[in-house]
Symmetry: C2
Subunit: 416 residues, 2 copies
Amino acid sequence: MSFSIADAAQQAKKAARQVANLNAEQKNQLLVDIAEALSVNTPSILAANEKDLAAGKENNLDAAMLDRLALDPSRIQGIADAVVEIAGQVDPVGNISSIQRMPSGIQVGKMRIPLGVIAMIYESRPNVTIDAAALCLKAGNAVILRGGKEALHSNLALAECIKSALAKHNIDPAAVVVIPDTDRAVMNELMTLNESIDLIIPRGGEGLIRFVSENSRIPVIQHFKGVCHLYIDSDADQVKGLNILKNGKTQRTGVCNSLETLVVHKDVAESFLPKAAAMLAEHNTVIHACENSIGYFSGAQAATVDDWHAEYLAMEIAVRVVDDFEQAIEHIEEYSSGHTEVIVSQDYSKTQEFIRRINSAVVMANASSRFSDGGQLGLGAEIGISTSKLHAYGPMGAESLTTEKFIVMGDGEVRS
Amino acid sequence: MSFSIADAAQQAKKAARQVANLNAEQKNQLLVDIAEALSVNTPSILAANEKDLAAGKENNLDAAMLDRLALDPSRIQGIADAVVEIAGQVDPVGNISSIQRMPSGIQVGKMRIPLGVIAMIYESRPNVTIDAAALCLKAGNAVILRGGKEALHSNLALAECIKSALAKHNIDPAAVVVIPDTDRAVMNELMTLNESIDLIIPRGGEGLIRFVSENSRIPVIQHFKGVCHLYIDSDADQVKGLNILKNGKTQRTGVCNSLETLVVHKDVAESFLPKAAAMLAEHNTVIHACENSIGYFSGAQAATVDDWHAEYLAMEIAVRVVDDFEQAIEHIEEYSSGHTEVIVSQDYSKTQEFIRRINSAVVMANASSRFSDGGQLGLGAEIGISTSKLHAYGPMGAESLTTEKFIVMGDGEVRS
């Protein structure tokens, strides 16, 4: 019998009602049991993963991709630990925000509730299967998971662990669907099921995200890229500035919260850029510099407009000197991807104005862009980072997988 | 020179930055000046409206449509008064929610910010032009307005009032675009401009909303229909129940918060339904009743599945008797449009459970569904009602036209 995504989505919608009604303790116990199933079933997960790895080698996947795909006992334990950590977080469902009494006499508040059914579309990392399922369940949602075909055996083995925990708690197995068919047609059909599915979160390369955004009839959380800016103001503490530059550019280059452009006020170019150049040279950083900064860097290339837009994801940075604070704001507004921007300044008013005026998802004063991450910002586990403003903006934790309804308590009032 | 929606949207995006940076007082003064311009320019607005009405009569628009289209001095004053009221509301932008200190030392909060550029697509009521512009500006957004072709002259005359107020405050006129071309091609192109426009709100018939939802690459706030349920529990105070039924069904039938289905617990069918039947008969209400309730109504038709789904928007109601509380929940979950549902019961636990379990946008205990409205729920003016859960759910006021960014205040912290 072939798999029908329309049927699975409809069953998930029904199961979502059951999951929405679990209380915090039931959901947390379910998560702990999923974690335990992962430990118990480590041998069968590894056996399935072996199949994927063997097929991957046969299909000449590159080393980085094979590494993302690979599981071992410690990675499985890490996945299980993350689920236990999610179980320990505050329940996002059921909170009521301040209830107000209206002139009519009715009392009006808002209660946080699950979204319903969430579909995740992702590429080769099998840990996403468990992370996403755990966060969606924590927020009271059903979830449909469509991973990459390279990881299918691993994902199905992980799904068995979830299924056994659902069964133990008498929860409809349709609450977590791991799509057993990685055919593109299934994904295309999934994106039309707006009667059953409330949200799609694509995780992976820009091509995947753009494809889903342009073809889905279901709302999509988009995360295109992170072109993060660091602005060193004329009133910067340069020691802080240099540390923040070093941390943001060199700690990890392949992540979206790493720095891509350094913007420097002209009054401190002469004092700051030589130190920046020396530090970046130590890390063999490729420099793309504007005409007013290129003289400070040996071997720098002249920056073009493409550099202001670039997400290098490499030991590579664009550098621009600006005339004043206003020009720094303009540069960032023009080229920002809406992810994370940082000002380094000791001037109170300028930090306040930067924070107020720059409308990226995360705006910082005197801190490293590397803090732009769900865990570091206090959200716990993260299901993605939104760079579009609707529904969620920035790192998304369990609360971003919920919404709020209005609740009204009356005593027989009618409208006059 | 012909109108280019792509250019207009790009200019609106630029203007949005300026509007986002206006403070509360500047925005409120702008709104007051728009209201004043409406009063001053009443003669020219009426002259433009005359043209639309004449064309409408020539094109055989029906009386209801001509009435929606028509302006007179008191309607214009009403529109102006609504703008002044919006000016008086609390500013939704700039609020910072509780700032927490993280283990790393950084302080993390969230600040409310405008969405950017909002497009409204609506039908014949010219008041929407001003209401929508005022709410979008209040929330710090630029706005693109595309009204129906029947109201084009009126809308352009209203736009002049906005333009004069923007000019007085030196605000980029691109902040409010009234599209001067009601060609379908312009709307189709608008829906592709996801680089410039952040949100589309269609207001009008189901056909319009469905068309926009299925064709837009920009997120859409959907409001399909309101199939509102009233459940009379076995522990209901029947006087309250009857008042709430009367208010919900008979006060205004053409609105989405009117009642469409009455669900009654079997234990009180015999005591409640005769009173309900008498009251509904006084209002000449057409009844579609289930087999267990049809005997209480003279001249009732047998209800079909279509009746459970129906939004009558008329003096017409579906009636169902259920065996118990659980079956009432099931019926509502199955047929709800996600708008508004009401329980009437004196039993504390059942009201709490109803409010917790029914995940419609507005859930009420012992109050009339007619309160499901932005003004009545304390939001002030309303830009629409969302029956989809993403971003906004239920009546939307100015705050629904904003989002939140993360703000981080550090003192040189870097990530370890």
